[in-house]
Symmetry: C2
Subunit: 412 residues, 2 copies
Amino acid sequence: MRRNVIVGQSGGPTAAINSSLAGVYRTAKDRGANKVYGMLHGVQGLLQERYLDLSEYITTELDAELLKRTPAAFLGSCRYKLPEIHEDRAVYEKIFGILDKLDIEAFIYIGGNDSMDTIKKLSDYAIVTGHPTRFIGCPKTIDNDLALTDHTPGYGSAAKYIGTSVKEIIRDSFCLEYSKGLVSIVEIMGRNAGWLTGAAALSKGEDCEGPDLIYLPELPFDLQSFSAKVKELLSQKPSVVVAVSEGIRTEDGTYVCELGNSVDFVDAFGHKQLSGTASYLANFIAGEIGCKTRAIELSTLQRSASHAASRVDILEAYQVGGAAVKAADEGDSGKMVVLQRLSDDPYQCGTEVKDVHKIANDEKLVPREWVNAEGTGVTDEFVAYVRPLIQGDVSPVMVDGIPRHLFRPYNL
Amino acid sequence: MRRNVIVGQSGGPTAAINSSLAGVYRTAKDRGANKVYGMLHGVQGLLQERYLDLSEYITTELDAELLKRTPAAFLGSCRYKLPEIHEDRAVYEKIFGILDKLDIEAFIYIGGNDSMDTIKKLSDYAIVTGHPTRFIGCPKTIDNDLALTDHTPGYGSAAKYIGTSVKEIIRDSFCLEYSKGLVSIVEIMGRNAGWLTGAAALSKGEDCEGPDLIYLPELPFDLQSFSAKVKELLSQKPSVVVAVSEGIRTEDGTYVCELGNSVDFVDAFGHKQLSGTASYLANFIAGEIGCKTRAIELSTLQRSASHAASRVDILEAYQVGGAAVKAADEGDSGKMVVLQRLSDDPYQCGTEVKDVHKIANDEKLVPREWVNAEGTGVTDEFVAYVRPLIQGDVSPVMVDGIPRHLFRPYNL
């Protein structure tokens, strides 16, 4: 590389997205890039000419290590969808004008489905106009729902956190005894794809039975059969733990989290409150069975818990960042780096590049055969697929008892 | 010791309560105890003659290490308050009958305020009846609200988890930009005492501003001044993070979490839903300001996150377990082990025993001078007090990517 590289982060935060950023920076520098710019808040920030020079923040090897361990998008993120080229050519002209001004040779975008749409459109525009900048996507999403890649960086760390936390919740749930038992509902992210919710099964082992029921969003959810199953379980054990996706829907497509709003609960200002899936189900079960219930949302913690990240995930995120720069340097454009699993045991995984047109806006769901017949749990195949992705730890750099992150002022 | 020891766990689970159990077991065995029994689900289980022989579970040094790293009460817990002696003497006769049958020399109870009430009553009964069994309390509570002890085992690990998680939440909150800003409300345990909520300030450091506002339950909470402060903060920064205790109350003593129920939100079965403090405030702020809001409950995770435990806490928990047995062996009864801080820097802490009558049913709150004048944050003195308690880590024993715990079947 002789000229400059620009890199951006887009979509929801993860524990591994900054490791990809560190990988992009390192490989770009190693391959001779002059400057490595970071877009602030992705393409949306770039359009406002907000960017920084990464070498001002990654000044030492220690900074790079801290960056790998820093959760959430270091550069800031956005949820911005580029217009179609024929709809608003001015936006494209503006972006390419900025790229020319910054003398950009390679544009790397770290993100999920929507972000790959950005890579697709920008690379298409470059081809049409004969512009030399190359556009490469770098996969990132805790949801693990990207097509053509074995899995996505960010997923392994979220899965490890979910497996660990659900195991701790199960332990906690057996402490106190309640006359009619205790039902704990754990709500996990993933509106359409059940990869994260299924990861609750990782808690199962010689020392833990795992969750009793797991409901993925891929299958319709039936309140009555759910209640019947919980009742049956409570006749066998004092504590029942259920993992549910935030996106479970009834047969007619209604989100379970919307059912709670059939009774209008509005605050003093007339705003409707959306109660969560777990809290709806906890109330439902309390009403049906009269037992003690508990609703636990893993919330944003599951995507930002760098303190419990998976080593495999952080290293692969770093690897795909480097592979994205390499692909651009070797002349590729309009491609996304994918992870290709070479073997399960021992686990081996390499990278390739695939046409981004086949990835953008697509969604990879959990295959039906990886869910049990009743739709209340995942199979051993599911667990065997995820298990290698949660191996190993990344020791946080602890300063005075708390993990240290790489600092960036928010007001840039 | 020549005869047997029995140990029980009582009240809410913590990440360190099993380390105290390991300490009790080790010291009892080292001092010559014949058998070390564990009550299942505390005194409530003991009354049903449910107990186990701990040496059947702690068979190796590795088992002891796993036990120290296992969250929540290994023996099961209870929230059982003994009647006054004059109210129901039969209960006492039953307990002492079981103790005689098991040839118990020392009775150790690991718990908080309510559990110390049990130690007080049982030791009083023993004195009155001339019974030789000795009763010693071993402090445990994430709430840190026990009198006469510098702090309580369990608190340090919860504080470390809260500081770490709040820091990750703050990082996450700056990723995406919202036109009117983002307000994240983090709800933390501690109904009356603000020790846990104040620990959110541990997230502050060179790389993080910490939460913008912290509200402890010790001071009355005013919705309008809260809203005004958030508005002011949003004019300066895009993301505002607020830590609130689950127990904050308005001037007239109403819990904030109850305000949401002024509008009757009942499920299909007529059960009133108690929405949480964070979700009420998130809706309130959304209504007042129109910004994006997020409610995050740290929930049971904050008390059971052994994967992120504090080394100081786990070691001190082990130490107080041993000290409880030593005290009983040396003839003490009706006492609780307390931690006495000898110096802050370097941090040094020893154990003593104090009369349980001065501890039971009392509650140690955060002193007013450790909260800032406006009541929106804790002082440097608060942080200096907590900081030593979160130092160091306890590496989980990882098996296939997930922490291993010591196993006990729940159906004993």
